[in-house]
């Protein structure tokens, strides 16, 4: 047993941090906030720089153009990027690209991966439907084969980024006459496809997600991923990767440090109160406990294992802690805690606590609800019966 990071990991963290110092300008962060990381000239430059370093694909095998590094490097990379609030990528990198790499044909890899790595291709996830949320496998959007094409009809919801994405990673029913998990396929649908309508749904955290409607949308058979009716394992694989990202400690540690920094600078009276310090120490402890689960999860993947219960534990811990940090922070900040960033200098920590409180619920149900996560821990981790 050895809990110390070897020198090569510490060197890598220092390298990532130097890189961030060079690139982290107010202009870039502003563009990121305004576009939710989807596009913009500075973001594009930054992604080119990232791509040049090969970090987005460093954990891929060298035969696929990667660097063959283990997942602990990815853990460090994500932790640093999240801590500093950098646009290191989105689900396209962390969830879609690994799925294409794993399940796509050579032709599909060749057509999609370079664009993703350059940042030219952005994918939105077309999974949920109005009546297929947590019970995703009951989805009803239909794809029917006509010659060399598939014709898609139906409706998706929570298709975040669809309005700025180039493609939708779409799960559709290709066989209604088999058990529900066995009749689903995954398609890559360009957002420019005729018959596709995108309608925004504005959310309480200031951003928006979308509904997407498919009216005789036609997709060539070559854009079906991983075989007809073989979609369910692909979706599960992608969700597992998504959960690794959701469990990242970096942004939580950042929130805590922003709170502490603000109290030290502007509310010394509060920070000197032992009760306040006690609450802060509790949050620090919970950050350590959450990070323990995240590292454990990354470690298991890095040595070739598939952490099912561990990934779920890390996801639950991170997302519930996010709510607690935001809530506690606002309590400690008093009425100032309610001020959004539009209030400028008056808003503590640029309104990050207030905004985090508004966005926090998403993480607890997104990427698999925490209730489902607990079901998984009980079944896969503890062997409790169905």
């Amino acid at each position: 047993m050895d809990f110390e990071w070897e020198q090569e990991y510490r060197d890598f963290r220092a390298e990532v941090r130097h890189f961030i110092e060079d690139w982290r300008t107010p202009e870039l962060l502003e563009e990121y906030a305004r576009t939710y990381g989807a596009d913009g000239p500075l973001l594009r430059q930054f992604r080119d720089a990232l791509a040049a370093r090969g970090w987005m694909r460093m954990c891929w095998p060298e035969s696929d153009g990667g660097q063959g590094r283990n997942l602990l490097y990815q853990f460090i990379f994500v932790e640093e990027m999240e801590y500093w609030g950098m646009p290191y990528g989105n689900l396209t990198y962390t969830s879609i690209a690994p799925s294409i790499q794993r399940f796509g044909s050579d032709d599909q890899k060749r057509r999609y991966l370079p664009g993703i790595l350059r940042g030219d291709s952005v994918f939105a996830l077309g999974y949920s439907e109005p009546n297929a949320g947590t019970d995703l496998a009951s989805l009803r959007t239909r794809a029917v084969r006509v010659g060399d094409e598939w014709v898609i009809n139906g409706q998706k919801i929570w298709t975040s980024l669809a309005d700025v994405a180039t493609h939708i990673w779409l799960a559709a029913r290709t066989d209604p006459d088999v058990p529900k998990h066995q009749g689903i396929s995954v398609f890559v649908v360009p957002t420019t496809s005729p018959g596709l309508t995108i309608r925004p749904l504005h959310a309480m955290y200031g951003g928006h997600t979308n509904e997407t409607f498919y009216d005789d949308v036609r997709v060539p058979h070559a854009d079906l991923i991983g075989g007809v009716n073989r979609g369910w394992p692909i979706i599960m694989h992608a969700l597992n990767h998504e959960r690794v990202g959701l469990a990242a400690t970096g942004s939580l540690a950042r929130l805590f440090d922003l709170l502490l920094g603000h109290l030290a600078e502007r509310r010394r009276d509060r920070l000197d109160d032992p009760r306040v310090r006690q609450r802060l120490a509790e949050l620090q402890l919970e950050l350590l406990e959450q990070r323990a689960l995240a590292i454990q999860n990354a470690w298991i993947i890095s040595r070739g294992g598939t952490p099912i219960a561990e990934a779920s534990m890390a996801k639950v811990a991170a997302t519930e802690l996010r709510t607690r940090i935001a809530n506690t922070a606002m309590d400690l900040l008093g009425r100032y805690g309610a001020l959004s960033r539009e209030n400028g200098e008056l808003a503590p920590a640029e309104g990050r606590m207030e905004w985090s409180y508004r966005i926090a619920p998403i993480f607890r149900f997104g990427g698999g609800t925490n209730e489902i996560m607990r079901d998984i821990i009980a079944a896969a981790g503890l062997g409790l019966p169905r």
Binding site: M1, D2, F3, E4, W5, E6, Y9, R10, R13, L72, E79, E80, Y83, T249, G250, A253, L260, A264, L271, P274, R277, Q278, L280, A281, E282, Q284, L285, L287, L288, E289, Q290, R291, A292, L293, I295, Q296, W299, R303, A309, E310, S312, M313, V316, A317, E371, M373, R374, D375, I377, A378, A379, G381, L382, G383, L384, P385, R386
Partner: protein, 362 residues
């Protein structure tokens, strides 16, 4: 980095576990509780097996292992609710090794490994503040009162925290023939503990403030291991019970409400396990900060009541009766959560240095 046990560590854990499962039925623990005794026979077996030598260097007759190995041993004994002074004896000897002059450390470790001596710490006074040491030593003689001297009535020596010329330190006091009055304390953990008065007894200086700090750190992290062991056992018992206990025609473990309790228990245990073994490893390498130890113990101390109370919720009435083994871990776990720094004390220490930068992102 390697977060898995290596093969030797796995073998050690399994050996101890199998031995205890075969040799120490829980009724033996019940008998110790009833008679207010310790399990002296088990202690002699542990001495004979050589397990006590795990964390000591080979030059002192030890096995040259580390604190992680010691932790595995302590955890397995906690999972069996064994009534032996494992954490106390190891913490006292490890503190001596870190600070005492070579000869006296050698004597202390060899006394422990040979089974000739049992040295347990005596630190707390009536104030119940770990750093508050007032018992005076003058001209090699010690006086004062100590509380919560765990296994104190069964030891051959106490390693007493005392103060000489206003400097705190550790002193070895031999109990045989010394003017000592001792009374048993009855705690929720049902393991032996004593209140002890020393009346001008001969005391051998073992180490200064550093030695005391080393004792507090080691004893604290080993008490965290004991919390972990209690919680792990309660979790395992609960999962096993939920698989076989049927209500409404199905195992209660198939109900989502029960599953979610169990999932929460498992997650809490997993977090604490990481932090506790990480702290053991860091302490072994000499780079554990007091804050790291405090956080690890705070985690264990907060976790164990949560986990054992959920274990009771799932066991229902069956978990409350003393024919069932669950109560050992509920009671022992809570008692250990208070020993060598409760959650409250550990968090207060962490709160005092809350502004110091965290090393977690380095």
């Amino acid at each position: 980095m390697n977060l898995d046990l290596d093969p030797t560590q796995t073998l050690l854990r399994d050996t101890v576990r199998e031995y205890l499962a075969a040799e120490v039925p829980f009724d033996r623990v019940r008998r110790c509780e009833r008679q207010e005794r310790w399990d002296e026979a088990l202690w002699r077996d542990i001495v004979r097996q050589g397990w006590l030598g795990l964390p000591f260097p080979e030059s002192l007759g030890g096995a040259g292992g580390g604190l992680v190995e010691a932790g595995l041993l302590v955890e397995e004994l906690a999972r069996r609710a064994a009534v032996v002074p494992i954490a106390e004896a190891l913490a006292a000897a490890l503190a001596a090794v870190q600070s005492a002059p070579a000869e006296s450390a050698r004597a202390l470790v060899q006394g422990l490994l040979g089974g000739d001596a049992l040295v347990v710490p005596a630190v707390l006074e009536r104030s119940d503040v770990l750093g508050d040491v007032r018992s005076p030593v003058r001209d090699g003689r010690l006086s004062g009162e100590k509380l919560f001297v765990d296994y104190g009535q069964f030891a051959s020596h106490h390693l007493v925290a005392a103060r000489e010329h206003d400097a705190p330190g550790l002193y070895r006091v031999e109990l045989a023939g010394a003017r000592i009055r001792s009374a048993a304390l009855r705690t929720i953990g049902r393991t032996p503990s004593a209140r002890v008065r020393y009346e001008d007894v001969p005391a051998e200086h073992v180490g200064g403030a550093d030695a005391l700090a080393a004792l507090l750190a080691t004893a604290r992290i080993l008490s965290a291991v004991q919390c972990l062991g209690s919680a792990q056992q309660a979790l395992d018992m609960t999962v096993a019970y939920a698989k076989v206990r049927e209500q409404f025609g199905r195992p209660i473990g198939s109900f989502q409400a029960v599953q979610h309790h169990a999932a929460n228990m498992a997650s809490r245990v997993a977090s604490t396990r990481f932090l506790v073994y990480e702290a053991l490893h860091a302490l072994d390498r000499g780079n554990a900060s007091p804050r790291q130890i405090a956080f690890a113990k705070a985690s264990a101390s907060r976790m164990v009541p949560e986990v054992t109370m959920l274990a009771h919720q799932i066991h229902g009435g069956n978990g409350m009766i003393e024919e069932n083994d669950l109560y050992f871990f509920t009671l022992r776990g809570k008692e250990r959560s208070l020993a060598w720094g409760s959650a409250e004390e550990c968090l207060a220490e962490a709160a005092a240095c809350v502004e110091e930068p965290q090393q977690w992102l380095c």
